[in-house]
């Protein structure tokens, strides 16, 4: 992946220049910054927010000490833009499932793109988009990532605080199960037989779905050492493979760990282009 040889040196140790930009996304992750209602003004007093189109008419194209990037790379312009932004940034932080793994729109990576365009738009020739929606790290080097669809306000607060204080942010990479058990939630997989991706999904949500009586649907993407095939192998004992593929084929479908299970289970739901599934998979 093309990474600039040199990065700008942080401009000020005390007031970092912060930018927030978006690629293909729903804006929910950058909105999370505005959702830090209690700390937003205090943070704004300690940093210079130089680029954040959703919140301010002040604009900047860099340099950035910290740049939060939301969204996946889905158009030729975005592919060019992210390389320029990387070159102007000291610490590039991808925020959310779109930026870290492609997002829900990466489901189109399994399809014939032209067919999809003509399905939504009467005249697809006006619409510029790439055949795939891909994570930022496929294009430039990334320094930190905040997972989630959307990201967690607590993790965003922790990251900003850690940067300001000069410590490593506490962003655990373990499974959702760990937080689920600490919270004393009754396991919805074992006690209810629900499909729950918690064991292979990174923590950060506070075991939200199990706390609300649902199986985890993987919006924080694969955890470290995600044994997604191991979980799929258990699930498939009493479900058809297509149902297993369905469960993994959501907001982090294009992450390598989840993608492998989807491919091995015959691909995501809906009409897909079989040619997108690698031959090695035993679908």
């Amino acid at each position: 992946m093309p990474a600039p040889a040199q990065r700008p040196v942080r401009t000020s140790p005390t007031r970092p220049r912060i930018g927030v930009v978006k690629l293909a996304s729903c804006d929910g992750c950058q909105l999370t910054l505005l959702d830090l209602e209690d700390e937003l003004l205090a943070i704004a007093e300690r940093v210079d927010i130089v680029e954040f189109a959703e919140a301010t008419s002040n604009r900047s194209s860099g340099p950035f000490d910290i740049l939060f990037v939301e969204g996946s790379v889905s158009t030729p312009e975005q592919a060019d833009e992210i390389i320029k932004l990387r070159a102007a940034t000291t610490t590039l932080v991808t925020i959310g499932a779109c930026a870290t793994s492609g997002g829900i729109q990466a489901l189109r990576n399994w399809t014939d793109h032209d067919a999809v365009r003509s399905m939504v738009y009467p005249d697809p020739s006006y619409v510029e988009s790439l055949a795939t929606a891909t994570p930022v790290a496929d294009h430039v080097s990334v320094d930190l990532e905040l997972r989630g669809c959307p990201i967690s306000p607590d993790q965003l607060r922790e990251l900003v605080t850690a940067v300001l204080v000069g410590r490593r942010p506490m962003l655990p990479d373990e499974a959702v199960c760990a937080e689920c058990k600490r919270r004393g939630i009754v396991c919805v997989a074992v006690a209810d037989g629900l499909t729950c991706l918690g064991p292979v999904t990174r923590t950060g949500c506070g075991a939200l779905c199990p706390a609300y009586g649902r199986g985890c649907y993987g919006c924080f993407g694969p955890r470290e050492s995600a044994n997604a095939p191991g979980l799929a192998g258990w699930l498939v004992q009493d479900r058809p493979p297509a149902e297993v593929a369905r469960s993994f084929a959501l907001f982090n479908a294009w992450s390598p760990a989840f993608r492998a299970v989807i491919d091995a289970s015959g691909g995501p739901p809906g009409p897909i282009d079989r040619a997108t599934i690698p031959e090695t998979s035993d679908a």
């Binding site: 978006k22 690629l23 293909a24 996304s25 729903c26 804006d27 929910g28 992750c29 909105l31 999370t32 505005l34 959702d35 209602e37 209690d38 937003l40 003004l41 704004a44 927010i49 954040f52 189109a53 959703e54 919140a55 301010t56 008419s57 002040n58 604009r59 889905s74 312009e77 975005q78 997002g103 829900i104 729109q105 489901l107 189109r108 999809v116 365009r117 399905m119 939504v120 738009y121 009467p122 005249d123 006006y126 619409v127 988009s129 669809c149 959307p150 306000p153 949500c205 939200l208 779905c209 609300y212 009586g213 649902r214 649907y217 919006c219 369905r246 959501l250 739901p269 809906g270 009409p271």
Partner: protein, 440 residues
């Protein structure tokens, strides 16, 4: 600094604002004036398309509820509410009255969060002449803090019912994923009482605001229900007498593609643009407002301006803030949990259309479903797509009245007009870049 170019010379002019700010998503304004006449006014939406209509094909309606939320981070509840009601219409599901109440409370939460965000953080800087709400803090700290607290109260409702403020997880076909206890809902009350004070203060705030002057007649469209202010259900009505069920949307409105936009534009069958959103609702459904909101609207005495002057949209939002908070308190107080989180249901083949009132206006969805209840075909028409043509018509009408102003100021006024619609561009592309061009 705006990336704006205004051509030199008399009355030929191009205004080109790339990357409109303080709107949700990416778009531009492109305005071309020749001989003092507006030749074209385009709201260009270059937000990358994400093909949601295709992404939901093959999915169950419970999955659709999770997926369509991702169209918009500001109004995910609107997408979920429309989809869940469409699903229940398709499958013939009647939900528990407590579920009906809780869904309305959830929607109130999103209205409060979205309206407070737009009014205080996105629109107010225009009205007070600052680039952002963060720049308002020096002179108006208490105002900004109040707006943030109001927004927080809305988020707290969504997070309590749905687990988190953005992309909540609990909405399911037939009800919710679990029963919310009376204590869980009741504990929202203290913050809502505070929010009620802040909503009242918002009325005081907007009473003193003086936006730019621009008056026109627009076709206003909103839902209207027999018994309450429109959110989750109603018939589609307009100030010209239109009154149709929601599933007749396609018979009265059309979507068209324009070369300058990734968002399809919606128009009336007669080719006329129409306006959705708080101004339309406050105008068409004034008699359905909560008594506290009715009193606020009467105190402001801005009903006529809300209906005819798009720059005054914030007043409609302020009234709806009062409404949503008051109604939320009523629902919290009356809440009794259902015995089961969700009623049982079976999928069946069919087609169902539904519309609800998103914070930005009427949101229409239609799904064709197969025997397993999987989506075969989908149509999603967000409010911003529908408002797009109205915004362009307003730009074309407003521009000639301000072309004598210094260019920066003219550009800013045009941007402000767009912002007054609270366009949600991520929604629409599934949308903004402002460009004004004056030709030699």
């Amino acid at each position: 600094m705006h990336d704006a170019v205004i051509a030199p010379g008399g009355t030929d002019l191009t205004i080109d604002v790339r990357n409109l700010t303080r709107v949700e998503g990416e778009g531009s304004l492109h305005l071309r004036v020749r001989d003092g006449m507006v030749e074209s006014a385009h709201l260009e939406i270059f937000e990358a398309p994400r093909y949601f209509e295709r992404l939901v094909v093959g999915r169950t309606m419970d999955e659709v509820i999770d997926i369509v939320a991702r169209i918009c981070g500001i109004c995910p509840v609107a997408y979920q509410m429309t989809a869940v009601h469409a699903a229940e219409a398709a499958f013939g599901v009647t939900v528990d009255p407590a579920t009906v109440a809780l869904r309305r409370l959830l929607y109130c939460g999103e209205w409060i969060e979205s309206h407070a965000l737009h009014l205080y953080l996105l629109h107010l800087p225009d009205l007070l002449g600052k680039p952002s709400a963060l720049d308002l803090v020096r002179d108006h700290r208490a105002v900004v803090e109040g707006g943030l607290r109001l927004k927080r109260a809305g988020n707290a409702i969504v997070a309590r019912i749905g687990g988190r403020a953005i992309h909540p997880v609990s909405v399911r076909v037939g009800g919710f994923s679990r029963v919310l206890t009376r204590d869980e809902i009741g504990s929202l009350r203290d913050d809502l009482v505070e929010a009620q004070r802040l909503a009242d203060a918002t009325i005081d705030l907007v009473a003193d605001l003086r936006p730019p002057t621009f008056r026109r007649e627009a076709r206003l469209v909103a839902l209207r229900s027999p018994d309450d202010y429109p959110m989750n259900h109603g018939r589609i009505v307009a100030d010209d007498g239109l009154d149709i069920p929601v599933d007749a949307w396609e018979s009265m409105f059309v979507e068209r593609q324009v070369p300058w936009s990734h968002a399809l534009q919606a128009l009336g069958r007669d080719g006329r643009p129409y306006q959705l959103g708080p101004a339309a609702r406050v105008t068409l459904d004034a008699d359905r407002l909560h008594p506290r909101a009715t009193a606020a609207l009467r105190r402001l005495d801005l009903g006529d301006r809300i209906a005819r002057e798009p720059h005054w949209s914030f007043a409609a939002r302020a009234v709806e803030l009062v409404h949503a908070v008051a109604e939320a308190i009523d629902i919290v107080d009356a809440y009794r949990p259902p015995t089961e989180a969700s009623v049982p249901w079976q999928p069946r083949a069919g087609s169902a259309a539904w519309a609800t009132e998103a914070p930005r206006g009427l949101l229409f969805q239609r799904f064709e479903l197969d025997d397993a209840g999987h989506v075969v075909n989908a149509r999603i028409v967000p409010p911003t797509s529908q408002n797009q043509a109205a915004i362009e018509a307003d730009l074309a009408a407003f521009a000639p009245t301000i072309l004598d102003r210094p260019r920066d100021e003219a550009t800013h006024l045009l941007e402000q007009l767009i912002r007054s619609y609270d366009p949600c561009i991520s929604c629409a592309t599934h949308f903004l870049d402002l460009q004004v061009e004056v030709l030699p």
